[in-house]
Amino acid sequence: MKRFVAILAVSLAGALPAVSQSLEDLNIQFHGYATQGFLYSNQNNVFTTTSSNGSAAWNEDVVNLGATPIPKLRVGVQARYFLLGNYGNSITLDWAQADYRFDDRFGVRVGKVMTPFGLFNETQDIDPSYMFALLPQGPYSIASRNSQLSEYGGVAYGTLKLDKLGKLEYRGWDGIRAVTKDDGNFLGQRESGTTLPNGISGSAIGAALHWRLPLEGHALMFGASDLYVFQKSGVISNTPTTGASQTTTNGTETVSPFSQPFIFAKYEHGRWMLAGEVWKSAAKQFVSLTGKATTESINDNTAWYPMLTYKVTDKLTAGSYYTQEFNTAAKLGPARYLKDWVISGRYDFNQFLYAKAEEHFIEGTLTDFDTTMNPSGLKPTTKLTILKMGVSF
């Protein structure tokens, strides 16, 4: 049923620009996009799909409604159907907000808002906006979108002109981060029988600065952001998947306060784009089940990547990146790291329709490899081929 809805949405895309225009007379806009992806891996199933046999279980359908009822005020909402393997398969709210832009120096948006950290977080799930089918998975894990993308709260933003020093863009945010029970961060727990029926939530604050240098004919930006997550907690339920006892036990999971700093840079000139980023996230998790001792686990992840794209023609873009992520708190072995060489291409048939083809050469199994879909055990390397088509309006 959901696949039928997706196909219907794509089919209607051609007629919708006319609808968009008439609604625009009322200052209301309707936009959307849909993507369909195909994954094939030479070994190791990825993202909870059967990619080693080829998998088309990767689909997104997004609808966006916005209006400008009075000058400087924008209101809008965006909803998404997302499916990737066993992730998603539900309709969720991306964001719903009111945004008032006093002037270029200060604006504020409140509601469920995208969290503007790093180079790509605000756009990481907007497939039409970038050329790669998958962004570096360390900082931008597609399986952990819920924990990263948005929060309930507000963002203050603006741009300060610094004359000969260029421009300084700032963002500051505060809100509640709610991570759903099916988030990729909890995949290992679910496989061992532990679930969070209501997910896990806690407060988060952060800030970001982007310094854009005034270079004629070039675009150079240096940036930094930090996201600080206060203690998060949620109710858990554990039913052991092994052993004689299958008794369900309840308890609490708590994630200690942690920080996620990003440092990044981006350079654009003519047909070239060069970018790079370094990211770190270190957190402790405490699981307390009734009648049992509290267990503690630590993740201390660092990731980095350089990225390069080149616009071959107006319609064809080629690109590559290399990323590494490692968890220094994990035991030695492939599960401690992820290294990924990526070669990619994107072809824009027109302003509405595009296609992507991408090859990943992966070493390690730190991120997005699960044991349930790999009962024979994980191999240390994976070649992953991705084909994706999208339509947006």
Binding site: Y33, R74, G76, D103, D104, M114, S129, P214, Q351, S392
Partner: protein
Amino acid sequence: MKKSLYTFLLVALASISVVQAKAQVLVIANPSVKATDVSKNDLKDVFTGSSTSLGGSSVVPILLKAGTANEEFLQAYIGKSDTAYRAGWRSLVFSGQATMPKTLDGDTAVVEFVAHNAGTIGYIGKATPHDGVKVLAVK
């Protein structure tokens, strides 16, 4: 001597070509917009959603759907193809940072809209009649 003259003529012809290329597109604004000129950087900021003000006035960009004037404007002042330009705006729309600017079918419609809507700024072909709007010099 001949070489110098030849070089001078080449440079002069090139300069004329550049001037003519720039002059093929006019940037127009509603008379309520205070600015009389605009830098290329500020113009790009307005038409890519980075800025909503110009010379002390709040401004709203108006786009052309297609055509020669649209292509020349994007090439001269934005540095992107039409496809990439629209994709950039959609990126802002889908991340909640903007709404898509109003897009009109032709130069006449742009002049009509800009003339009657305070704070609007658009672009048209040089030969298009543009009564009721002011022309901003691009420096």
